[in-house]
Symmetry: D2
């Protein structure tokens, strides 16, 4: 119900941070599709923690185990028409870090809302089902989706467009190719302009020293989608993508093309003029983000997602005691990321890839 999406291809996410395992079930993948495990692992690696000083040192093996939906053929896994289930074992869990939090909801987290919804019965250790860890199975699904889409010449790419107020160079909205996507993906910090990346990382480390955190904005694009995909009104491309993107922890805003800036443009500035180029219909600009009336027009589909700053900070915070119903203070001990936006880049790509795969199958 809640933790699933998709129409012809359905993705169902399960697990909680301190349970046995987390995973995903994908029902409806086309059969006979190869899954390159090396490539998948490379993609998952873009999300992993413990790679550098920017993230927490929690070790996550994160190697997916495929329980169903595939058979082995030479060095690849091949989808075999049964629903696919992939899991990641949980380990390295420090439950003792969270004892106090059962009574004192952390500001910015789902502790309080989960407490109300499930009357205290939710397992919220490590954030429970709300933990950022649950983005790992999204990445497994998205990594698989990306491989299938790539064979159809459709590519998804993203970068950290902004972080802690520092701006990266943007995608060229009318002229994008997969080489740029790969170039960003291969970096240890997912930006186009390395200089901006250096400044961003400085800000992130500064926030860490301050016991604070920063957020970011991710720009993501899908290229080579043919025109005519999507539906009017509530099943348009924006609706399909937004529904899933807002399901990713920490996303608080989504915009397509010129987005909120379009609201500040004139019609003459925002409208994308049509033109013929190489016998194909294209637009001179791409403020629509490749979508008109919920339907693709053949230009790159471009959107941005706003990632709020990580709620867990070391600074003391005001909260309440749920048992005593009175104000109190809270210092969240233990380890936490000063920024998750750079790690969220592959998650945003993954979510988009899943939605697009479901669209074109």
């Amino acid at each position: 119900m809640a933790s699933e999406f998709g129409d012809k291809v359905k993705f169902s996410i399960f697990g909680q941070s301190h349970g046995e395992a987390i995973g995903v079930v994908i029902d409806g993948l086309p059969a006979g599709e190869a899954i390159d495990l090396n490539e998948l692992d490379k993609f998952l690696d873009r999300r992993r923690t413990g790679k550098n000083a920017l993230s927490t040192q929690r070790r996550e093996a994160d190697k997916p185990i495929f329980l169903s939906g595939v058979t082995q053929r030479d060095n690849n896994l091949i989808t075999c028409a049964s629903p696919l289930c992939a899991v990641i074992k949980n380990s390295d869990q420090h439950s003792q870090d969270y004892a106090e939090l059962l009574d004192k909801p952390r500001p910015g987290h789902a502790d309080y809302t989960a407490y109300v919804k499930w009357q205290g019965n939710a397992d919220m250790r490590g954030g429970g089902h709300f933990s950022g860890r649950l983005t790992a199975p999204i990445c497994i699904a998205g990594g698989i989706a990306k491989q299938i889409l790539a064979r159809k010449n459709i590519f998804v790419g993203a970068h950290l467009a902004e972080c802690a107020g520092v701006r990266d160079k943007n995608f060229n909205s009318v002229n994008l190719n997969n080489d740029l996507f790969n170039a960003v993906a291969d970096k240890s910090f997912p930006v186009i302009d390395d200089e901006a990346g250096v400044k961003m990382q400085a800000e992130i480390l500064k926030a860490r020293e301050d016991g604070d955190s920063v957020g970011g904005i991710i720009e993501c694009a899908v290229i080579n989608l043919e025109a005519g995909l999507g539906e009017p009104m509530f099943d348009g491309i924006e609706s399909r993508l937004a529904r899933v993107l807002f399901g990713i922890p920490a996303v608080k805003g989504v915009e397509f093309g010129a987005g909120f800036n379009a609201a500040r443009l004139k019609g003459s500035e925002n409208n994308d003029a049509f033109k013929i180029s190489n016998n194909k219909v294209m637009t001179l600009s791409n403020n629509s983000g490749g979508i008109l009336g919920g339907i693709t027009n053949g230009m790159p589909v471009i959107f941005r997602a706003a990632i709020k700053p990580t709620p867990s900070i070391s600074k003391p915070q005001h909260t309440i005691s749920l048992s005593k119903l009175e104000d109190t203070e809270l210092i969240i001990k233990g380890r936490h990321d000063p920024c998750i936006a750079h790690r969220a880049v592959p998650v945003i790509e993954a979510a988009a890839a899943c939605v697009i795969l479901d669209l074109i199958i």
Copy 2:
């Protein structure tokens, strides 16, 4: 499929601009609920054209006719457990204004994408099913939803937070009441600060003279929702609202609480501290927009939608000929709105009310 949303209460929009009628089917409304037709008409009136010089002079009677789902009791209609269907007759249609457009897609409209998707078989006169006119049935549904919610002490309100770069005063995110909502709703131009409203209207008229158009940003809030509503991940409040909001023509961005600005804040700035007030759990700030982990926390749910400038402008534009596959020019004759954002305010409210009603039933 496309033009419907909802779970326990399903809303299905039908119609095209130049067809016989447009309307909505609502399946799942609780029975025995009164629909005050005067109040509904007042709400629909906030969307209507022809009221002042700001909008086109197309006359729309827009009086809903109820075909099913209600019975008459005294002066009210009462829902009676059968799916409700309400329609609005189309009239006053100038098909001849659109003849040229069948071959030359208007920039910013769905002409081209609909042409590709349905191979020229879609009735796109007046925008067809993509026309802004289809927001009228959304308003009928939303108007009914607002009345049912009001009886449960839940209120939805909105205002034009920004238009043509001019900013209105914002909602107080921790302290909102229905009186403010009603005050804005009763005005002829939906702003909190009338001075800002005057400036906005000046910009709109200026755009009209220029043969151009402007856009805007709508801020909307839902108050008195109890905590604990919604689901984690893909059925959270943000996901449910965003899916529907992006289905409204011209919406290109949606953000909740601090939204894209949250990406520029520190965690210590963005986190909403908890406090006890009158034995209730509240937050000192409301950057989360009343939503944590997809679930309400009891504070006002606040979001913003970016409305792009009306695509139909009088200025000449570059486009193509679909039949000849070559570049050409286009001047869209006839009447069109220099701004729709002020008329979209009740539409945004209506969409939110439908989603919230479905949530709490």
Copy 3:
């Protein structure tokens, strides 16, 4: 929610017996499809009352009015990509026939269950939304679906396989063609063997004289579906069809192929042996009803629906007073059908056609 079905093509039924109108919204029909109104009317006529002494004399004009989703081209209506809405005005309603029934639920009807579910707020005059009248919009949708399917060489046909214990000749499960379907459709009583039809009608009239009613079993088939359509488990052909068939008033059983009789066969008798015929894969028998593992195998899809005897009879019946919570008697005055099974034949075809159209689009 309740009164809709479909995936890529969604069908939404609205209306109550004594409301203004009843109708259907179809979202997702392919654009550019012609609707032959004469042929549609012929199909709807197979369901209509007042044609002969077998049915009640309620006059129902039942001419569908198309509010949206079509444009006119020469003598046909053409689907135009907008959701289609077709309505039938209600008229000729005798509310006074039903006054007593508000307190005394009729056995076999939904009076009591609707009373409990909606606490007396449901409009149950004439059966409300549960009335057999709501099969008229199903027939409009199915009539349109049949026409679209026919152009793809897929045909749906049905007959009254059994009525009041009298059996018709059955379909030849391995060898069916549209000529037989049309032959049955053209008759005033929908049987293959006219002699059986005469006996059935005699039984029906006898029941009428007795102030009683009889039921029947409808056999329906879909031919020329290619193999490989459908899904495993809960979205198989049987699941999709059964879900919709059981939504038709009075259906109390559904079986595919040999159905309940298969339970009495040996595996060697029930298994359909494969064979090659004209380079095509076929089966020697068709006890599977054309479906293996929820997926079509290319043979005719055949199923049967059991229609219970009309609940409204003239004989005195035991019931209760809802207000006094005590036993009482009831005599249902007015007119009612001694049998609806013969009129349900096109309804079963219609439902099947809608499900199949959604499957192959």
Copy 4:
């Protein structure tokens, strides 16, 4: 998409017979519910093979491993608000038994239809995702559902009403209690009348000796459901149950209450008269199977499912060669059940329990 069902509580089945594991994800279970593992194992045991001479000797440990959605509290597992995933490892697989079958589809199985649908890419060893083995995760889910329902005083029970033409005593449709359900569940052969059970088992063994198979009919009931649950039309109790039941391998017919027999009754015989008993509304008979207009009336919900005879038999069968497109013969070597109907009884209960849990949550 295909292998999932449910609305507020969603059940998603994954796995194929010869994959790593099979399992189920349940999203939406109420939190804080205890799962008694002993009781669950007792329920799963009713389905297991290798218990007696009636079934194949394939050893299946079938002990569910809970990957998520639960925490440990004393001796129980407690649902904890995260989606629950339970898996069963596959083992004891004899792939070599199936080598020939890749080219020669077995009559009555999904080999051919899966071959067409997935162009030979489906893993159909052991039946792949179509294997009866996939009823084990349905039983895990249903076993959990039964426990939650039982705490709400709602019980589900079933028995083998008919097998190989031998009839068991039927449920008393107006007077059922959980003691009878438990009595049947505790037996090694699930019948009410042990004499009938002995005859059935004799027929099953006889079929085994003949290298053949037999089918059966399962009667299932749900008691203590309050009136007013369900929806009209396509989301009624019959529709919800039938959709899921037909997703269980081998089910070819479903009927409610008097079912197909109702078609042979008079209205005066089939109508269930209402009466007041102990201040409660009840019916004198229960031909409606506890459902009127898709909504429960408070009487036991009773239905029957027809199970076709096991397709895998030892006798030679006619089939085709997919590679050569010519007729050929096939003898299915290895082990197979002469009857699965007795093992399907808990599966039918499980499916019903899942649907009912989703209904009342």
